[in-house]
């Protein structure tokens, strides 16, 4: 809840580019990141923002079967996307178009898949109506699923295939929101990318004997997820008054009439676009927001890569993560 005068204060502050915490419109908060604190998971990452947002993502790999009708399902998904669904898989304005490593000609029956869920811990969501929390989690899960499984998702899905047509790796990406302090979706994506960077998959060797295909999976998880560097990050812009800001605080989120989430990968490609909130966005503003988001996305990605490189160095040195201490 927010009062009339607070709303006025925030809206005018955004207009003047002096926000309530001293940031300008396009300033992000500090992001802290740690990987590998869940030993039971194949990969994990926790992202915390200065204002309290706290997201934990775990990736667990398992052997799954490629569904016989995977092709049909994938087609149905495509139709869904084209038919004005809220996520446009790489179809937005200014797309430099397919550089996707896994998309293109690859058959759906030769691909692994990623299954994502977003859940909220009760302590994080005491401020919300439980029904709103559920729909928010559903929305974010769907977006995550669509982005990661699309041609622009980054992860090389074809590399996750073990036996074409029958067996593949399934990456279960589970995001848990531990605390809420605004800018949740961006944090979830940042944590997901971090967790995929941290994920190791066991090596699988396939043998063909007498036309029968057998595979063996090693105990140790050694292989990295191919294409994690191409996993996009999102930049969510909230429209407040006639202006837009990034990385909103909870109060700013309450003042915003619309949200535009833009997923950008390190090649500068637009990977997905989602609009949330009740209000509308004018076409001219939309184009401006997408452009800004593409630029900011690069900054965000380079910052993210630096943090991940530091994490990789820490793990190489054998230093334990701080975890939840």
């Amino acid at each position: 809840m927010i009062s009339v005068s607070e709303r006025d204060y925030i809206t005018k502050g955004v207009d003047r580019s002096v926000r309530a915490d001293g940031r300008a419109r396009l300033d992000f908060r500090d992001l802290n990141l740690e990987t590998g604190m869940i030993t039971q998971a194949s990969g994990s990452c926790r992202v915390t923002l200065e204002g309290g947002t706290d997201v934990l993502v775990g990736v667990k790999v398992e052997v799954g079967s490629i569904e016989p009708d995977a092709e049909a399902a994938a087609d149905a998904d495509d139709i869904d996307d084209d038919g004005g669904a809220r996520t446009a898989g790489g179809g937005g304005p200014g797309t430099d178009d397919t550089t996707g490593s896994s998309g293109g000609g690859t058959h759906a029956r030769n691909r692994g898949r990623i299954s994502c869920t977003v859940a909220c811990s009760p302590s994080a969501t005491r401020v919300f109506d439980p029904r709103d929390v559920e729909s928010m989690c559903n929305e974010y899960s769907q977006l995550l699923n669509r982005v990661l499984n699309s041609a622009h998702g980054g992860v090389d899905l074809a590399a996750l295939c073990i036996v074409p047509g029958s067996t593949c790796w399934v990456l279960n990406v589970d995001a848990l929101v531990l605390d809420y302090g605004g800018g949740l979706l961006d944090a979830i994506f940042a944590a997901t990318r971090g967790a995929l960077h941290n994920t190791r998959i066991p090596r699988a060797t396939v043998e063909q004997t007498d036309g029968r295909v057998e595979f063996e999976i090693e105990d140790e998880e050694t292989e990295i997820v191919a294409g994690w560097e191409d996993v996009p990050l999102t930049v969510s812009m909230s429209k407040i008054g006639y202006r837009h800001i990034v990385d909103p605080t909870p109060l700013e989120e309450l003042c915003s009439s619309a949200r535009l989430t833009v997923a950008v990968n390190r090649r500068g490609n637009l990977c997905a676009l989602q609009k949330g909130g009740e209000g509308g966005i004018e076409p001219s503003l939309l184009a401006e927001m997408v452009q800004t988001a593409k630029q900011l996305g690069q900054t965000l990605l380079s910052r993210h890569d630096t943090l991940l490189a530091a994490e990789a160095r820490r793990i190489a040195k054998g230093v334990d993560p701080t975890g939840f201490r």
Partner: protein
Amino acid sequence: MDQDDIEMEIDGEDSLDIHVVTPGEVVTRDSAFMRGHGTYTEDETLVASLAGVVDRVNKLISIKPLRTRYNGEIGDVVVGRITEVAQKRWKVDMNARQDGVLLLSSVNLPGGVQRRKNESDELQMRTFFAEGDMLSAEVQAFFQDGAASLHTRSIKYGKLRNGSLVTVPSALIKRTKSHFVTLPCGVDVILGLNGYIWVAKHVPISPEQANQPDALYHNDNEPIADQEREIIARVSNTILALAKHNNFINDTMIVYAYEAGSSHRVKDILKPDISQEIVQTARAQFQEAQQH
């Protein structure tokens, strides 16, 4: 820490040292002490059931938790947010276990203190306080179920405007003579004992303005210049920096920390190394002032 050390600290009359305990930690084995809040006895020893600071009043030992919901006391200044408009009352979120209650009979209505409240006032309660509105108030009494009854029957209490809210753990707010402070930088700060702090532009109230019918309950902000916004943001971030390092918060501490951070950009104040430096400087300054 050694067992004897703990007992020595409790026994030492003038010991000012803060003694932090965790749940299950033995506070004392001396059976002369009485068991207060946050403790239990086990085999004649007094054991902490909370993580917090040992608080001793004569023979009574209790543990004050570091992070808890606000436990009000009568006379406390609090800052709260209206969550509900009900029959003859408002419900106020004040970071306590239950929402506080502000009765229609404990607010000042336009037209003077002596005015009687009638049915038409009851019907237009939302024009005074609506859901989401921020207000400052005083804890007047407690109901049977432990909910606080608030009042705003003074010119200094009422609706809050022209600024923003900062939330810190309630244990960090020091009880002082006045919780309404105007800082030298021209910013009003209301230090609610419940951990809600209102930081706003200083707006002097002239007597004739105060007598305007809607002076108490209007929702319009004064024009606030960019520089003033920046100072408000600076004070807010300074308070958050103090809270981040578990430092107590009162007017002098805010002023010291504000000065210590004046060379930094507003948005940098909360960066880990900078906030630590600011809080340390402010602490040193505070201790120096204490000694003189």
